[in-house]
Symmetry: C2
Subunit: 412 residues, 2 copies
């Protein structure tokens, strides 16, 4: 590379997104980039000319290791949607002027569906205007809902955390005894795709039965059938643990969390903000059965738990970061790096690049055949798919009993 590289992070944070940033930095430096800039808060910050020189923060190999162990977007994130090119070109002109000023040869954007939309539009604009900067996307989302890639960095660590925490919750539930039984509802992220919720099944093993039921958002949810199944379980055991996606909906499309409350907030991309599915179901079941119920939301912890990250995930995140720089350096633009699984056992996985036009705004859902017939558990195939992604640990750098992260001042 002869010019400079700029990298941004966008969308919801994960435990692995900074490992991709470390990968981008290292490969860019290895390939001769003079400067590697980081946009602060993605394209939104770039438009305000907010960026930093990553060399000021990654000064040693230890810094890079700390960065890989730091949760959430080191550079800050945004949820900014670029206008269509034909609607408003001024935003594009502004961005490209900044890129020219910084002599940017490669623009790398680490993010999910919405971020790939940004890569698509910027690379389209570059083609239209004959601009030489190359735009490559680097997948990231705990939701694992990106098309064309076998899985997304960030998912494996979240899945490992969910499997571990659900196992601990099951253990906690079984040691308590209530006359009419105990039902624990664990609410897991994933608006439309059940990849995270299905990961609750990872808790199952020789020493644990796993959750009793798992409800994904892909399958319409029937409240009365659910109640019947819970009652049948309570007749057999004292403690019932159920994993539900935050996004489960009834047959007519109503979110379960909307049945009990009036929360109806929509974000910049038109997504509904959800919460309260477990609370609603816990109250519902308490009313139906008289048993003790608990609602547990894994909430932000499931995407931020670097202390329990998967080694496979952290290493793959770094690889896709490096592969994105390599692709841009070799002339690719309007592409996203994808992970291609070569084999399940032994697990082998490589990277490729795919046209971002085929990816943006497409959601990959859990296939129907990876959910059982009754629609209340994932199959062995699902578990076989996820299992390799949670292998190995990344030992946190512990300082005085608490994991150390890479510092940056927040008032930039």
């Amino acid at each position: 590379m002869k010019g400079n590289v700029i990298v941004g992070q966008s969308g919801g944070p994960t435990a692995a997104i900074n490992s991709s940033l470390a990968g981008v930095y290292r490969t860019a430096k290895d390939r001769g980039a003079k400067k590697v800039y980081g946009m602060l808060h993605g394209v939104q910050g770039l438009l305000q000319e907010r960026y930093l020189d990553l060399s000021d923060y990654i000064q040693t190999e230890l810094d890079a290791e700390l960065l890989k162990r730091t949760p959430a977007a080191f550079l800050g994130s945004c949820r900014y949607k670029l206008p269509e090119i034909h609607e408003d070109r001024t935003v594009y002109e502004k961005i490209f002027k900044i890129l020219d000023k910084l002599k940017i040869e490669a623009f790398i954007y680490i993010g999910g569906n919405d971020s790939m939309d940004t890569i698509k539009k910027l690379s389209d604009y570059a083609i239209i205007t004959g601009h030489p900067t190359r735009f490559v996307g680097c997948p990231k989302t705990i939701d694992n809902d990106l098309a064309l890639t076998d899985h997304t960095p960030g998912y494996g660590s979240a899945a490992k955390y969910i499997g571990t925490s659900v196992k601990e919750i099951i253990r906690d539930g079984f040691c308590l005894e209530y006359d009419k039984g105990l039902v624990t509802i664990v609410e897991i992220m994933g608006r439309n795709a059940g990849w995270l919720t299905g990961a609750a099944a990872l808790s199952k093993g020789e020493d644990c039965d796993g959750p009793d039921m798992i409800y994904l958002p892909e399958i319409p949810f029937d409240l009365h059938d659910f109640s019947d199944k819970v009652k049948a379980l309570l007749a057999k055991k004292k403690s019932v643990v159920i994993a539900v996606s935050e996004g489960i909906r009834t047959k007519d499309g109503t979110y379960v969390c909307e049945l009990g409350s009036s929360i109806d907030f929509v974000d910049a991309f038109g997504h509904k903000q959800l919460s309260g599915t477990a609370s609603y179901l816990a109250s519902f079941i308490a009313g139906e059965t008289g048993c003790k119920t608990r609602a547990i939301e894994l909430s932000t912890l499931q995407r931020a738990a670097s202390h329990a990250a998967s080694r496979v995930d952290i290493l793959e995140a770094q690889q896709v970061g490096g592969a994105a720089v390599k692709a841009a350096d070799e002339g690719d633009s309007g592409k996203m790096v994808v992970l291609q699984r070569l084999s399940d056992d032994p697990y082998q996985c490589g990277t490729e690049v795919k046209d971002v036009h085929k990816i943006a705004n497409d959601e990959k859902l859990v296939p129907r055949e990876w959910v059982n017939k009754e629609g209340n558990y994932v199959t062995d195939e699902f578990v076989a798919y996820v299992r390799p992604l949670i292998q190995g640990d990344v030992s946190p750098v512990m300082v005085d009993g608490i994991p150390r992260h890479l510092f940056r001042p927040y008032d930039l």
Copy 2:
């Protein structure tokens, strides 16, 4: 020892309570106990003659190591309050008949305040009736609210988990940008004592500012003062993180969680069941400021997270288990083992035994001088007290990507 030992677990589970069980088993065996029985679900299960022989489960040294890494009460827990002796002697007669049948020389009960009440009553009954069985308590509670002991096993691991998770949440909050700012309220366990909530301050270090405010239940909570302080913080920074105890109350004694909801459930010991403090405050602040708010309950995870346990805590839990057996073997009864800190730096701590009559039903609160003048943060003295208790890790035994626990069938 010539006879047998029986051990039970009671009250809320922790990440360290099974390490005490492992300590009891090992010392009892080392001192010649023929059988070490485990009551299933504490005294409540014992009254139904539900118990097991621990040798059937702890067959190898690896089993003992797995037990130390298994969260929640391996034997099952209960919340059973013995009647006063003068009110109803039949329960006592029944228990002592079972103890005689099993040739019990030492009865060890691992638990918190309520469990020490059980030890007190049983040892009193033994004295009244001239019965030779000895009763010794082994402290356990994440709440750290037991009198006379420097701290309680279970607290250190919960504190480490809280410090780690709050640090990850702070990092997550800072990478998001909202026009009017983001306020995250983290709700932490501890009905009356702020030991757990104060542990949020452990997140503070060279790489993290820690939470912006910390509210303990010991200090009356003023909603308007809180709102003013949040507004002042939002004027200076984009992301504000506040740790609150589930048990904070206004000056007139009303729980903050009761301000917004009608939950009013009381358990067998007359304790109110709380939830929703963070949700209430998040809605309140959203209304007051128009900013984005998030409510995060650390919930059950903070007491069950064996995967992030403190080594000091797990080892001390084992020691107090062993010390309880030693005390009973040497003739003590009606006693609880306590931890006595000899030095902060280097940290040194030993065990002693104290009269359980001086302990039972007394709550140890955070001293007023360990909270700042404004009542919204803990002092350096508080952190110096907690810091040694979270040192070191206990590597989980990972099998296929998930921590392994010691198995037992749940239908016993």
